[in-house]
């Protein structure tokens, strides 16, 4: 019998994180391919609501680790507890949701349990001697397939949207209270939280957005995008590097660490289309991408594309819009 697949769930203040369900779906799918059962683990304190929700999934065991030192997340305490659970379960594969929280402790966990590590998995296939894990490299311009050697156990974090939460099978999960042998040791003191970027521009309601990427080349050259935004009646936004360079204020950033938008028209100028950007704009109705690299991943989510220099195309686009408005 193959060793179990262990799914590490994420919660916040007792509510299950959206991506926990995707991780369960991924874990079930991996176990189906490998043979073997699926178990899950949830860490925290005051977990009754989340425990009830998880116990309605098809899991062979559901380990619940409650401890006051796990009440708020710290990598030290979480990894300490997870090492004990992994030692007890002896999983062949540990599946985690690829969230900021997971990435924060993933390297440390891999080091502690001496497992192979494959972060940001978007899919898998079976090969002769195990699974091949798919993950993006070079900002999503390429996909790589990764094998795990010598039958080592592996930690995989699954990227948002790669496994459908609706695919998670329901059933009955026997709850097992996991008793830790040592108290988990928090290695951080939480002092508070702060909103980023003061008086926020809310782009979530914008009907049209012109988004600028690093391909603009220089903050001084922003006027081509401003003119286009004006001709369209659109809001101006940007990818992260444009904001990091100080070319636009932080509250105009789109993506996983910025705003999530769903306008009817999204024009991406010189944006490559890294996953952290795409998660913020993939709900847009119509996407136009201008990029001089025909292989830029942004084209795979765009409806219309132009391969070429944005500094030539953008003024032409603005002129064409103005002409069309006049006619």
């Amino acid at each position: 019998m193959a060793n179990p697949v262990l799914v590490v769930l994420q919660q916040r203040e007792g509510g299950l994180h959206r991506m926990s369900r995707e991780a369960i779906a991924a874990g079930q799918s991996v176990a189906e391919t490998l043979g073997g059962s699926v178990e899950a683990v949830l860490l925290g304190e005051g977990l009754d609501a989340a425990v009830e929700e998880v116990s309605a999934f098809a899991l062979a065991k559901f380990h619940v680790v409650e401890h006051e030192a796990l009440a708020s997340y710290t990598p030290g305490a979480y990894v300490g507890a997870l090492v004990e659970v992994v030692d007890a379960v002896q999983p062949s594969v540990v599946v985690l949701p690829h969230t900021y929280q997971t990435v924060d402790f993933l390297g440390l966990l891999a080091q502690r349990v001496d497992a192979a590590l494959v972060p940001e998995v978007t899919g898998f296939e079976s090969a002769d001697d195990g699974l091949l894990w798919e993950r993006p490299v070079l900002g999503g311009k390429l996909t790589s397939k990764v094998a795990v050697r010598g039958g080592a156990s592996v930690l995989v974090s699954v990227q948002s949207g790669s496994f459908s939460a609706d695919g998670a099978r329901s059933g009955e999960a026997p709850v097992e209270r996991f008793a830790l042998s040592a108290d988990p040791e928090p290695d951080r003191e939480l002092l508070g939280t702060e909103e980023v970027g003061g008086d926020q521009v809310d782009l979530s309601q914008a009907g049209m957005i012109v988004a600028v990427g690093r391909g603009i080349g220089d903050g001084e050259k922003m006027s081509v995008a401003e003119d286009l935004a004006e001709a369209l009646g659109a809001e101006l936004a940007a990818s992260r590097p444009v904001i990091d360079n100080g070319w636009l204020p932080r509250d105009r950033q789109i993506g996983s660490s910025g705003q999530t938008v769903s306008p009817k028209l999204y024009v991406a100028l010189g944006i490559s289309g890294a996953i952290q950007h795409l998660v913020g704009m993939k709900g847009s109705k119509t996407v136009v991408a201008i990029n001089r690299d025909p292989n830029a991943p942004i084209f795979s989510v765009a409806d219309y594309g132009y391969v070429g220099d944005l500094h030539e195309f953008t003024p032409a686009f603005t002129t064409a819009l103005r002409e069309a408005a006049d006619s």
Binding site: G107, A115, L142, T143, K145, E323
Partner: protein
């Protein structure tokens, strides 16, 4: 305070990519290499912390001969010393082997703080800093947007979280801080800096200096192996508008009006 900064040399994100013949990685010939973006911010943060404490900044990289250029640039920008983990046996590994080797090298230099970037722009594990922290037995934090060293041997650290909220935490020092892009404004090298860099110490270490057996590190020691890379299937993909900019722009306006009906 002696601050270690881990910098990685990666292909410029603007580079056009071709696959290597074995289709396990890109063909690196003619590809311009640069310092990984978040590592530039880590270096700047280290320089500022060192300036405030009369400290020293030591940069580390693990990579082939070309990676020396990244170290030289870091020295020109203001780092005091550089250590090059240069050994074919160390190459081709993953976050676990690279992190283990870097941790050994950092230990030899007796550093008080380690700064890394948050994610490399090529393989993007986001994990090497955590592995280093595990080996050193130090606390760590990923996605750091602010660092203040406090008198009590602690640091007040601002961490980025999803959806526009930062978390403020306190960590015991020594620690490993994985710096996120955007927390400062990296300085440029001055001509004087470039001249001075030529006189600064740049040492090389190999696997044996780090007490790492060749079969336990790099490609041979890694538990993972990239078996192939390829261009992703683009799904439906975009309709690519042909012609020069003016023709294509007029077509686009037409499509947005009549097909997509968004204008």
């Amino acid at each position: 305070m002696r601050i270690a900064v881990c910098i990685k040399q990666v292909p410029d994100t603007e580079a056009r990519l071709r696959l290597r013949r074995d289709e396990r990685w890109i063909d690196e010939e003619d590809v311009p290499f640069v310092i990984n973006e978040s590592d530039e911010y880590a270096l700047e943060e280290a320089l500022q912390l060192a300036e405030a404490s009369e400290g020293e900044v030591v940069v580390f990289t693990l990579g082939p001969e070309r990676a020396k250029e990244a170290l030289r640039k870091a020295l020109a920008v203001g780092a005091d010393r550089a250590v090059h983990l240069r050994d074919d046996a160390l190459e081709g590994g993953d976050a676990s082997t690279t992190g283990a080797a870097l941790a050994r090298a950092i230990e030899r230099e007796e550093c008080d703080l380690v700064l890394t970037g948050s994610q490399s722009d090529d393989v993007g594990f986001g994990a090497t800093g955590g592995v280093i922290a595990g080996h050193l037995g130090w606390p760590h934090a990923w996605l750091v947007m602010g660092v203040e060293v406090e008198e009590e041997g602690t640091a007040r650290v601002v961490r980025e979280m999803e959806s526009g909220v930062n978390e403020i935490v306190r960590l015991r020092l020594p620690a490993v801080l994985e710096i996120q892009a955007g927390l400062n404004h990296p300085r440029y090298a001055s001509l004087r800096g470039i001249m001075q860099a030529k006189k600064k110490e740049l040492s090389e270490v190999g696997a044996s200096d780090l007490d790492l057996a060749p079969e336990a590190t790099g490609a041979a020691g890694a538990l993972t192996e990239v078996v192939s890379v390829g261009f992703p299937e683009s799904g439906e993909g975009a309709e690519i508008l042909e012609g020069d900019a003016e023709v294509a722009a007029r077509q686009l306006v037409e499509r947005l009006r009549r097909e997509a009906k968004v204008l």
